[in-house]
């Protein structure tokens, strides 16, 4: 098997005696869109800063393209593009000048590449305007363009949708999803939004309080998420008792009635039973927010989704 693109082992960062990142293990395979998920302050940005050599791990190792980032930082960074926290830009320069200032620090990136990346993020029209007049979404897109400038094999994007409006988020997501196929890159994208990660990632790592709680494919995460059937009825307590008497495993939280999903017949039988006992059934729905529930359970409700 090929060596993973990124491999972290026992990665720890202590700040003032407290472990902000604590024994994190993770690996990212070629072509992955790796969703790095966790509430604010969980240690995502700290981990990413260590990945990029901006900050030193207290202990543990990071290998990117099979090389130790601490020893061969420059060689590794030549093939990595990044966007850390807020987009970095020089406000008094135009998008072209911003990219040119970065291009001059890279090796063998032709000038024409600037137009290419600008058109990928659809900023070609505004390329000559000062960046300080850009909307946040445009600045983020410029950040992505900067990250892609050196034709990286690995893109590290820290909260790329932070502060964007829904249209901007959608746009950013489509752009990120298209990257591995079109440009052949591996992407690590961090987010505090489960729904975000769920919609673009192929693999997920969930981190909370500096610890990695879950790392697997998005399919596996979904499998863990059990859906349930929610009944809206006129008299939930009575209905709950009825269903229990009939031998169904129902739960009641004083507002709504839940049951574990069985087959379609089972649901139909429950509805028939309720109707026969003159309960008015307002709605029967399958609750799909359960992934969120798993995430909340894992992170013990801290932070917001």
């Amino acid at each position: 098997m090929n060596e993973p693109i990124v491999h972290m082992e026992g990665l720890t960062k202590k700040l003032g005696g407290r472990a902000v990142v604590d024994q994190v293990n993770a690996s990212v395979e070629k072509g992955d869109i790796y969703g790095f998920l966790g509430p604010n302050g969980a240690g995502k940005t700290t981990t990413i800063r260590m990945l990029l050599g901006l900050s030193r791990p207290t202990s543990g190792s990071i290998r990117i393209f099979g090389r130790d980032i601490r020893r061969e930082r420059i060689a590794v960074l030549r093939k990595v593009g990044s966007l850390v926290e807020y987009p970095s830009y020089y406000g008094h320069l135009s998008a072209i000048e911003n990219l040119e200032a970065v291009r001059r620090l890279m090796h063998d990136v032709p000038r024409s590449r600037i137009d290419e990346v600008l058109s990928v993020v659809r900023l070609a029209k505004d390329a000559n305007r000062q960046v300080k007049g850009y909307s946040l979404g445009m600045k983020q897109r410029l950040g992505i363009a900067t990250a892609m400038l050196g034709r990286p094999e690995l893109l590290v994007l820290d909260e790329p949708t932070n502060g964007l409006d829904p249209a901007g988020i959608l746009e950013m997501r489509e752009l990120i999803k298209s990257l591995p196929a079109e440009q052949g890159v591996t992407v690590i994208v961090s987010s505090h939004l489960l729904s975000e990660v769920e919609q673009m990632a192929t693999r997920v790592g969930i981190i909370s309080k500096g610890r990695m709680l879950f790392e697997d494919t998005i399919v596996e995460l979904r499998r863990k998420a059990r859906s349930r059937i929610v009944f809206g009825v006129s008299d939930p307590e009575g209905a709950w008792r009825l269903l229990l008497v009939c031998g169904y495993r129902a739960e009641w939280d004083r507002v709504k009635l839940f049951v574990e999903p069985g087959g379609d017949e089972e649901v139909a039988a429950m509805v028939a039973e309720l109707v026969r006992h003159e309960h008015a059934v307002y709605r029967v729905e399958e609750e799909r927010a359960s992934l969120e529930r798993i995430f909340l359970d894992m992170t013990r409700g801290e932070g917001s989704l």
């Binding site: 800063r49 901006l54 060689a75 990044s82 970095s88 970065v102 001059r104 890279m106 090796h107």
Partner: protein
């Protein structure tokens, strides 16, 4: 290295141009003009050494140290703004190189300022009818000496500017330490060790003034300049190298 300097130029050219061409030596020359019109008037030949000595005090003790701080703040300004350090240092560049290029860039701006100072002084002399006997050696050594003696201050200000996530704070510190320059100059003991004063001491032609630290031998001045440059550069670079971004 050259590519990095060109990248730096792209970022700072607007501000740098404005500062270099406008504010800096022009105002120094204006003060010289003012000073000369007071005591010399229309005497026979232009008093080059006196003009240089006067210029050195006004420009060397105030404008040059202030500008050095401004240049150091400028090269860090755009990195502090909008996460530039992170972007810059996540590129395939070494931190040492980044720091040294910034310092070299500041030194380059100071050198250019010195050239402008010299050019304007010559222009002024020519306008005032000074011809034949231009003391080239004195003038050049003053300009070069002032440049060399401002390097420790450049290293110190770069250390402060890169460490503080602020544009104004290092400048305020610089102003606060520049203003008492003429007071410090009276002390033979402390003046040579005061980085804000070293440029002026180096720019003043020998025997121009006979008080305080002005009588200092060039050799001991440059020894102190070299020592403090190494110290400030080492401290600034070390802190920059170890820092988390």
């Amino acid at each position: 290295m050259l590519r990095m300097i060109r990248s730096e130029w792209l970022k700072t050219r607007r501000l740098a141009k404005w500062l270099l061409l406008g504010a800096a030596p022009g105002s120094a020359i204006l003060t010289v003009l003012f000073g000369l019109s007071l005591d010399i008037g229309a005497t026979a030949d232009f008093p080059w050494k006196e003009a240089l000595a006067l210029g050195a005090v006004l420009y060397g003790s105030l404008l040059l140290p202030l500008l050095t701080g401004v240049y150091a703040a400028i090269v860090c300004r755009y990195e502090h703004f909008g996460g530039g350090w992170k972007q810059l240092l996540a590129l395939p560049v070494s931190r040492t190189q980044v720091y040294m290029v910034k310092l070299a860039y500041v030194a380059g701006l100071i050198a250019f300022t010195q050239v402008l100072f010299l050019a304007l002084l010559l222009l002024l002399g020519a306008m005032k009818g000074g011809t034949g006997s231009i003391p080239w050696a004195t003038m050049l050594s003053a300009a070069c000496g002032g440049w060399i003696a401002s390097l420790p201050l450049a290293a110190l200000q770069l250390a402060v500017s890169s460490a503080w996530t602020s544009f104004a704070a290092p400048l305020a510190v610089n102003v606060a330490f520049t203003l008492p320059n003429m007071l410090v100059a009276n002390s033979e003991t402390y003046a040579p060790y005061y980085p804000w004063l070293q440029p002026m001491l180096a720019m003043t032609p020998g025997n121009a003034y006979q008080f305080g630290a002005f009588g200092l031998s060039p050799l001991s001045l440059y020894a102190v300049v070299f020592g403090s440059f190494v110290l400030f550069l080492g401290a600034g670079w070390g802190a920059f190298f170890r820092r988390s971004f």
